[in-house]
Symmetry: C2
C-alpha cells in the first residue's frame, strides 16, 4: 500500500489574501474580492456581488467534526497548506498523495454574475495566480482554470489564454450556464472545440442545481433543514450537464474531449449510465437520437467523475465503469479525507482487486491530466 501512488483529483486552493488586490487593474481594485475582518470574528471574503464568504467550511483540514465552523475562522488559524504551495506539498506528503488537482475556494462559483470587465479581471487574476502556484511543482500541482460562463466568446478567449499557461490542464464551468440554456446547446460548441484543441479537460464542480441557485435557492436553504437538504442534493447537480452534452452528440463531434463531474460522487452515476442505455434502447427510434454509440460507451473515455467517500459507488464500480472514476481528498474542505486518505482508500477498496484500485486512485487521473 505504501508503494501505491495516488492522485487526488479534487482539492482546493485557498486564494492568497492579496490575490485580487495585487493582480487586478488599479481601476477595478476596490471592487475586487478582498479579505476583511468579520463583525462576529474571524475573516471572510467581501465579494464583488455584495455577499461575504466567511473563512469556514472551505478550510477545515485538520479539525475534528465537532470543531467545524461555518464562520469565525481567523486567517492565522488555517493550515498554510491551504494557500502556500510548499506547505501544500508537505501536507500532501503527510497524506501520501503524489499529485493534486486544484480548484478555487472563493472563485468556485465563478464571477459570472458580475459586470463583464470586472468578471474577466477577477477570473484572469485567479488563473495567473493558479499557474504560478502550480509552477512550484508542475508534476504534483495540477491547475484547473476558472472559465467565464458569461458568453461563449469570453469563455473561448480565456480557454485559449490559459491553454498556454504553465500548470493549467483543465477548465472549470458552473453546473448550468444560465436560465435559458444548458451545456448541450449548439452555441457552446466553440468551447468544446477550444478545450479539445488546447488539451484541456472540462470540469463541472458541484453546486446548487438549476432551480435551487440564486435568490430562490437562498430563500429555500433558510428553511428548517434546508441547509442539510441542499448539501444532500448537491452531488447530483452535475447530471444535467452530463446528460445534455452526451445526448446532443458533443462527444461524437469532439472525441478527445474529457469532461469531469467533480465532487459529485459516483454512487448515482452507475444508475445514470444504465438509465442512459435504457433510454437509448427504448426511445431512440421515435426520438430520432443522433449518437454514434450507446451512451454508456462514452463513460471512461469522455465522461469521468470524482468521489471522496462513496461506498455505494465503489461497490458498483463496474456499472459506473472502472475507467470513469477518480478518487479525491477534497483538501482542505469540510468533506476532506486528509490526513486519513490512505485509510479511506483501504476501506473503500478492501473487496476490490488491486488493478481496479490502481486505476481509480492513479491511472485514470494520470490519463485525464497527462501525469506521468
Amino acid at each position: 500500500m505504501a508503494d501505491l501512488r495516488i492522485i487526488s483529483a479534487d482539492d482546493h486552493l485557498q486564494e492568497a489574501r492579496d490575490l485580487w488586490e495585487k493582480r487586478v487593474p488599479a481601476s477595478l481594485r476596490d471592487e475586487a474580492p478582498h479579505l476583511i475582518d468579520l463583525p462576529d470574528g474571524g475573516h471572510g471574503w467581501a465579494l464583488p456581488n455584495g455577499t461575504t464568504r466567511p473563512l469556514g467550511l472551505d478550510v477545515m483540514a485538520g479539525r475534528s467534526y465537532e470543531d467545524y465552523k461555518a464562520s469565525g475562522v481567523d486567517w492565522d488559524e488555517i493550515r498554510p497548506g491551504c494557500y502556500d504551495p510548499h506547505a501544500r506539498l508537505s501536507d500532501m506528503d503527510i497524506d501520501g498523495v503524489h499529485a493534486t488537482v486544484l480548484y478555487p475556494n472563493v472563485g468556485l462559483f465563478g464571477f459570472n454574475d458580475l459586470r463583464h470587465d470586472l468578471a474577466m479581471a477577477c477570473i484572469r487574476a485567479y488563473n495567473d495566480h493558479l499557474s504560478e502556484f502550480c509552477a512550484t511543482d508542475e508534476n504534483r500541482l495540477i491547475g484547473v482554470a476558472l472559465t467565464p460562463a458569461l458568453d461563449p466568446e469570453s469563455a473561448v478567449s480565456e480557454i485559449e489564454r490559459v491553454g498556454k499557461l504553465p500548470g493549467i490542464r483543465g477548465a472549470l464551468l458552473p453546473v448550468f450556464p444560465g436560465e435559458n440554456s444548458w451545456w448541450g446547446d449548439p452555441e457552446f460548441e466553440p468551447l468544446w472545440a477550444a478545450a479539445q484543441a488546447n488539451g484541456l479537460s472540462i470540469s463541472f464542480h458541484i453546486g446548487p442545481p438549476r432551480g435551487l441557485a440564486g435568490e430562490t435557492g437562498k430563500a429555500l436553504r433558510s428553511r428548517p433543514g434546508g441547509t442539510e437538504a441542499v448539501i444532500n442534493l448537491l452531488p447530483m447537480s452535475t447530471a444535467e450537464a452530463l446528460a445534455t452534452m452526451l445526448w446532443s452528440g458533443v462527444f461524437d463531434r469532439y472525441p478527445e474531449l474529457k469532461v469531469i463531474s467533480v465532487e459529485s460522487g459516483i454512487g448515482w452515476l452507475g444508475y445514470f449510465r444504465e438509465r442512459a442505455n435504457e433510454v437509448y434502447e427504448r426511445h431512440r427510434h421515435w426520438a430520432h437520437t443522433d449518437l454514434k454509440e450507446e451512451p454508456g460507451n462514452y463513460f471512461g473515455r469522455n465522461i469521468f467523475a470524482t468521489f471522496e467517500s462513496d461506498a455505494a459507488g465503489v461497490q458498483m464500480r463496474h456499472l459506473v465503469g472502472v475507467e470513469t472514476i477518480l478518487w479525491s481528498s477534497d483538501y482542505p474542505h469540510s468533506d476532506t479525507t486528509w490526513p486519513h486518505s490512505r485509510e479511506n482508500i483501504d476501506k473503500h477498496f478492501k473487496d476490490a482487486p488491486d488493478e481496479d484500485k490502481r486505476k481509480i486512485v492513479f491511472d485514470n487521473a494520470a490519463r485525464v491530466y497527462g501525469i506521468s
Copy 2:
C-alpha cells in the same frame, strides 16, 4: 416462481374517454379535458391549459419498441386494459401480477396550473372515477388519488374526502409544490397530518425537476438531444421532495407517514441515503440538525421507491434498504415490462435470495398499501 405473488407498485389508468364530460358540473364541461381527433391522425386529449396530450407513449403496452409512437394513436388501437377494469385484471393475469397501484395518465401532472374551481372539479372527477374503477376488485386494484397542490387547505380537503372513498389508498403530489416553496416547508404540515390520519401514503411521481418544468423546460427540451436528456434526468426528480421532508423532520412528527418515490428507480437512492448519513455525521453540529435518528433509518419505514428496470439498484439493494424497494411494471407506459414482468423479475433477482425478492415484489407494497 409461478407461486410468487407480485404487486406492481406503479401502473397507470387511461382515463375513460368521457370521464370529465360526464362528471364535472355542466358549467365547467366545455373547459374540462376531452378526447379529440388530432389533425395528423389519432386521438389526443385537449387539456384545459390549452395544450394537447396525444394518445401515444402513455398507452404502448403490447407494442414493440420499433412501433412506439409519440402521437397518432387511435383510441381503438390501444389495449382495453388501459381503461377497462375487467380487461385490466385479465392483462394482469397474463403477466402474473396479483395487484396493481394505479396512477393517472392525463391527470399525471395534476391540474395545478388551472383556475381553482376548474382544477378542483377535474381532480374530484378523476378521483371519483378512480374509486369506481378500483371498486371492481379492491384487493387487486389500488388507487392513488390526485391531490390539488394549489394550496394546503385544498389539498387537505381532498385528502379527507378521498380517504373515505372505496379503493383509494394513497395521494399523489407533484415533485415540487411551486417556485418559492418545497415540500419540507412548515406550511405543508397539515397535509402530512391529514394523510397520516386517513391512512393514505403520499406519492411523488417523477416529472420534470424544478428548473426544467414549465416554459423553460419546454424550450430546453426542444434542443437537439433535449428529449432524451430529460428522460435520462427524470428519475432523480423526486430527490428534492425526499430530502426536504426528511431533513425538516416531517417523519419525526408523523412517524406513520409513508412517502413513495414513484418511477424514480432506486439505483441512485443508495447513494442518496449514504450521502444523507454522511451529511448527518459531518454537518449536524454546525447546522444544528434536528432529527431524532440518523437519516438512513427513515428508509423502508417512511421512505419507499419503485423501479421497473434497474440492475444497479437491485445489486445495491442493501444500501437502499431491502425494505425500501417496490417493484413495478409501469403498464401501459412506454417503459412497461408487460407482458414480460416475470422474466424481468427473474433477470433482476437471479443473484438475490428469495427472501429479498419476495419483499421487493410483494411484501413491501403489501405493507405500504395494506394488501393482505
